[in-house]
């Protein structure tokens, strides 16, 4: 008797489909609901000005990062444990590092330059007015 032919699923065969419970409708639904709450949460925090500005800024950035992770895990099947996903994670971490360096570095440099720059005529006028000269 010949053994039954192995019918592999295409996505599993190329290693992009993590084993259940990852690849089910439930995971996509959880990801969607979670992202929805995180989005609405950020929105409500800002529109109702729940915290002071700096705290608020930190909160919405944290919520955005959580939503990034939620979407990576639930929509993009991250963290399934196959060999391919470890390499994807490495590339992601490298790219995030570059992003932080580019954005953070640019902000640091430009804010520093702004502080060292002479005020423009308009800025000088409004300063003098505020000092009642």
């Amino acid at each position: 008797m010949e053994p039954a032919p192995q019918t592999e699923n295409y996505y599993e065969a190329i290693g992009v489909w993590s084993k259940a419970p990852f690849g089910t409708a439930r995971m996509y639904a959880i990801g969607f609901i979670l992202s929805l709450f995180l989005t609405l949460g950020s929105y409500i925090l800002v529109i109702y000005h729940v915290f002071s500005s700096p705290v608020l800024m930190g909160c919405i950035i944290a919520l955005a990062v959580f939503q990034l992770i939620a979407q990576l895990v639930f929509f993009l099947h991250f963290g399934g444990g196959e060999k391919a996903s470890k390499l994807r994670l490495l590339i992601l971490v490298i790219s995030v590092s570059y992003t932080l360096i580019i954005v953070g570095g640019s902000m640091w440099i430009m804010l520093n330059l702004n502080q060292r720059m002479m005020p423009t005529t308009r800025q000088m006028e409004s300063y003098m007015r505020s000092q009642s000269m």
Binding site: Y10, A13, I14, F32, S35, Y43, V46, I47, I91, V103
Partner: protein, 192 residues
């Protein structure tokens, strides 16, 4: 079903596309950096807080999120070899994506008509470039998804169409992730 060579080739293609998406993320990183530097250079003209419409942007965000969800369900249908499911869910994705694009174009055109164009000041230049580049990616994504729907309708779910559906869905999910950051760092930051 797949030979070892075919398996390796497709796995490599999908990984390569992921690397491309990371370089695209670096492109957006530069645009974010520019916006970070220029976002308060409106020099007396209306700022983001005055120009942006919060509920409208929230609606856009939810619509794009929903399209990412339907895209996921479309890939699930491809996993289950359901050709009808793929066409239905990817069509839903396409319609939601189109709604997002129409809303965004509406937003841009009303800003420009009111005199706040990308040439008005540094803040608006950087805003239009960042959000506009995302919108351009969305447009390309919509063209790609439309082609995929036609491809699956005429050729069915073959090895090629399944691979390409995966790539298109990776692109679409990536765009939603970038939008999370645009929504947070451009729109919500303006209102804080």
């Amino acid at each position: 079903m797949l030979t070892e060579a075919e398996r390796h080739e497709d796995q490599t293609t999908i990984f390569g596309f992921w690397v491309y998406l990371m370089t695209d993320a670096l492109l957006f990183a530069s645009l974010f950096a520019i916006y970070a530097v220029l976002h308060n250079t409106s020099f007396g003209s209306p700022t983001g807080a005055e120009l942006f419409n919060a509920p409208f942007v929230l609606a856009e965000t939810i619509i794009l999120l929903a399209s990412s969800f339907t895209c996921g369900l479309g890939i699930l249908s491809a996993y289950k070899d359901s050709k009808g499911g793929v066409i239905s869910w990817f069509s839903a994705t396409w319609l939601l994506g189109l709604a997002f694009l129409v809303m965004e174009l509406n937003e841009f055109s009303s800003l420009i008509r009111a005199g706040h164009s990308y040439a008005s000041n540094g803040f608006l230049s950087s805003y239009f470039t960042l959000v506009g580049t995302h919108g351009l990616h969305i447009t390309i994504g919509l063209i790609w998804i439309a082609i995929m729907i036609a491809s699956v309708a005429f050729r069915g779910l073959t090895r090629s169409t399944k691979r390409r559906l995966m790539l298109a869905s990776l692109f679409w999910h990536f765009l939603d992730i970038i939008w999370i950051f645009i929504f947070t760092l451009v729109y919500l930051m303006a209102f804080k």
